[in-house]
């Protein structure tokens, strides 16, 4: 329990430290790229879970994540098109993608209940991290009011996902 907790905390601080807590103010094109990337990461994790998960609640959760993040990302694409903003790759997006690829590979080696547990625990931690980043960094930095509003909507949705993931995780103990 203590071990797992400290690992989770360490993973979180690595993610926030390296990937998200940079001092420089982000621009709207960068923010759009980060938000979109964060969505793609969760969709990829969900696609893996849809084929690998064995627990039916975990499988259903993965389906929900793919559906919702695809819907939000479509919304984001429509908005950037409308605003004529080109999402701009940046260090935060790169770090997020790199960490996500590592995590996907790590999860890919697991099977059965061990996989289910690791996936759902990571979903809890991931949504927590993304929500904190949205609240403390992305939303306050966004200049365009429509982008800000989309991020706020995203935050509400992802907070719902976090609760859902916590609920599924609690049911597996």
């Amino acid at each position: 329990m203590f071990v797992r907790l400290s690992i989770a905390v360490a993973a979180l601080s690595v993610l926030t430290g390296a990937a998200l807590a940079q001092g420089a103010k982000l621009t709207d094109p960068q923010i759009a790229h980060i938000a979109y990337t964060a969505g793609v990461i969760d969709i990829n994790a969900a696609k893996q879970a849809e084929t690998k998960a064995s627990n039916k609640d975990v499988k259903a959760f993965a389906k929900d994540m793919a559906r919702d993040h695809e819907a939000v990302n479509k919304q984001a694409l429509d908005l950037v098109k409308k605003l004529k903003v080109t999402p701009e790759d940046n260090d935060t997006s790169k770090a997020l993608s790199k960490q996500a690829a590592d995590k996907l590979a790590e999860l890919g080696k697991l099977k059965g209940a061990a996989y289910d547990k690791a996936y759902i625990d990571n979903e809890v931690a991931y949504h927590k991290t993304v929500n904190t980043a949205l609240e403390t960094q992305l939303i306050p930095s966004a200049s365009n009011p429509e982008l800000k509003s989309l991020l706020q909507t995203g935050l509400k949705i992802f907070q719902g996902h976090q609760q859902h993931a916590e609920h599924v995780a609690a049911g597996m103990k």
Binding site: D64, R67, A71, Q75, I157, H167
Partner: protein, 106 residues
């Protein structure tokens, strides 16, 4: 074949048809920002529920006891008429933390 009886039946049907809309109300339940409001609502058999989904995501209104299961696409409104009384706990199948109660009087 029996004009008297036929007329009486027609009259009854007409009365029945009138009786329902006269008392039936429409109740709006809104799904927005991953929450259902009002979280507690009361209605009567024959009333119409207008399920309004203001989110960019699909939601469902799924009764725990199986009495109804409505899917509402993003930015859509669905109307359904209540046909059975009871206190029904319902939730969204896609977002199970979205929960509410509908009390349906006979």
């Amino acid at each position: 074949m029996l004009p008297g009886r036929y007329l009486a039946t027609l009259a009854l049907l007409a009365l029945g048809a009138l009786a329902v809309p006269a008392h039936a109300a429409t109740l709006r339940i809104v799904m927005e920002n991953m929450a259902i409001s009002p979280a507690e609502a009361s209605a009567k058999v024959g009333d119409t529920i207008e399920w309004v989904n203001k989110d960019v995501l699909a939601h469902t209104a799924t009764a725990k006891n199986g009495d109804f299961d409505v899917t509402i696409a993003p930015k859509q409104t669905i109307r359904s008429v209540l046909i059975k009384a009871g206190t029904v706990d319902y939730y969204c199948r896609y977002h199970p933390n979205m929960k509410a109660v509908l009390t349906i009087a006979p």
